[in-house]
């Protein structure tokens, strides 16, 4: 799985790491039941503090995407499967928006506006909304 951060970005590093994991999950690079790399490894690889990585993992745990257990590491939960499907839907949505000539920003605000308040805090909905048009 590929994880990347941009130190020049205003988004906090731990959020960027969480984003990168979400993207990797969405792309199917890491599947439900698989372990995320140990925080120390990610910290070495990205040259950041280990606690930053742990904070990212905690964020992901809070939204239910990973299970953090002492001695077992961070295991991706079954939500990942749904996220992959959602990602496919998002890709389709972006593609059809593109063919209609609707800009990404316009689409993003459409998506943001269509979110019903009662599902606002559902993990998958949050993931969809937070996905940055980065690539």
């Amino acid at each position: 799985m590929l994880l990347s951060v941009d130190t020049a970005s205003e988004r906090p590093i731990y959020e960027q790491i969480a984003d990168a994991v979400r993207r990797a999950v969405a792309r199917g690079e890491i599947l439900a039941g698989e372990k995320l790399p140990p925080a120390s490894e990610v910290a070495t690889g990205l040259d950041v503090n280990k606690h930053t990585v742990l904070r990212a993992y905690q964020t992901l745990r809070d939204e239910g995407l990973v299970d953090l257990r002492r001695g077992r590491g961070a295991v991706v939960t079954r939500i990942a499967t749904d996220v992959v499907e959602l990602h496919r839907d998002v890709e389709a949505l972006v593609a059809s928006a593109q063919s209609l000539g609707i800009s990404r920003q316009a689409l993003a605000s459409l998506v943001a506006g269509s979110v019903a308040p009662e599902v606002d805090l559902q993990p998958s909905a949050r993931l969809g909304a937070e996905k940055e048009p980065r690539e």
């Binding site: 799985m1 590929l2 994880l3 941009d6 020049a8 790399p37 990610v42 070495t44």
Partner: protein
């Protein structure tokens, strides 16, 4: 015998239209290397074995029957059988191994079809070494078997045959000497398909950092083989453990139990150490760490000259699975299929089988580029 010092860079010869396959100069090089290889690695060994075979046949009437066929550590022979076993041994183990080795050389050095995904050299120190080794091996086998025959010529009782110390020394000496000779009489040619499919590095701005994580894991077939081996070893150990000891033989049984248990443990440990690896690619380069934490293999980013993805064939290109050292190349190759092939600045190759190799190679290419700045 350091291959990299004697390798000539095949890519320097490219005069073709910077495309796929081999240039005409490379084809000539390959033909020349193969021609020498054929003489050194196939015809010469066959001649050596045939000569030994003829000698054994000529001496057959002077051999005791039964003849001594096995020598123990104590000096004299401790196993006896038909004198014809020498003929069968030479024919099967001699011709058999030499033909098999040439088969590997021939198979691995076929001219790749255009548009093939072959990235590894079709001829390099690997083939050169196999050819030389084949010659040394033929000499060793012939010397040892002839020596064993000579010490029992005209004997009534094969048990009177002397030890094989001198024969073994001569045999090993011949092996080393002829392998070295076989290596040096061959031209140091490296023919590498001129494929321009170096991967596109991922774009990283100066403020961006990327890391790629992956694993090296064996194919399911390999896991089954490992399981079968481990089960057999455990079975042998249990068998020894529960075997009723003869009277006064408890000591021997204890030793046997400990030895089989120790060997089983050692094999399990070795397999665990060399079969599963966690791979991390970051600004430092590539690091492959065994699932047990040791050993660790590193490929520094600054040492990476180019990176490609390829379909890797462990048996054909590395002579087997696992950690493979061959002249001019090192591989952590646990299954057939996709992987990364990185060329170091001195031309040596580092190969590793990972899933999602495109992304891995793209990151490695990016950090290699970054390290060269």
């Amino acid at each position: 015998m350091n291959a990299s010092t004697s390798q000539r860079d095949g890519r320097g010869d490219s005069d073709g239209p910077g495309g796929i396959g081999l240039t005409s100069a490379q084809r000539d090089d390959l033909a020349r290397a193969k021609r020498t290889g054929l003489w050194v690695g196939l015809l010469a060994p066959l001649v050596v074995i045939t000569a030994a075979l003829v000698l054994v046949l000529v001496w057959m009437p002077r051999m005791p029957n039964p003849a001594a066929t096995h020598w123990g550590g104590s000096g004299g022979p401790d196993g006896f059988g038909s004198p014809w076993s020498y003929v069968w041994l030479l024919a099967l183990v001699g011709y058999g191994i030499v033909l098999m080795m040439w088969g590997i050389v021939e198979f691995s050095s076929r001219t790749p079809p255009p548009a093939s995904e072959r990235v590894l050299p079709v001829w390099s120190g690997v083939q050169r070494f196999l050819v030389a080794f084949s010659l040394g091996y033929a000499a060793f086998l012939s010397a040892v078997l002839l020596g064993s025959v000579i010490v029992q010529l005209d004997l009534k009782d094969p048990a009177q045959a002397t030890g094989l110390g001198a024969t073994m020394s001569i045999g090993f000496g011949a092996w080393v000497f002829l392998t070295a000779t076989g290596w040096f009489v061959q031209p140091g040619i490296e023919v590498r398909p001129n494929v321009e499919r170096a991967v596109e590095p991922i774009l990283l701005s100066t403020t961006e950092r990327a890391v790629w994580f992956g694993v090296v894991r064996p194919s399911s077939t390999f896991i089954w083989i490992i399981l079968v081996v481990v089960v057999i070893m455990m079975g042998a150990w249990l068998l020894v453990f529960f075997m009723p000891a003869d009277e006064g033989d408890g000591m021997a049984k204890n030793i046997a139990t400990i030895a089989t248990g120790g060997v089983t443990l050692l094999i399990v440990l070795l397999l665990a150490m060399t079969t599963w690896f966690r791979v991390r690619i970051d600004a430092r380069g590539l690091e492959a760490r065994s699932a047990l934490g040791w050993p660790v293999f590193r490929l520094p980013a600054a040492d990476v000259q180019r990176v490609e993805t390829a379909q890797i064939n462990p048996l054909g290109e590395f002579g087997g699975w696992g950690l493979r050292w061959m002249p001019g190349r090192f591989g952590i190759v646990m299954r057939s299929g996709e992987g990364i092939i990185a060329t170091r600045s001195d031309g040596r190759i580092f190969a590793i089988t990972v899933d999602d190799s495109e992304a891995a190679a793209a990151v490695l290419a990016a950090v290699a580029k970054g390290a060269q700045k």
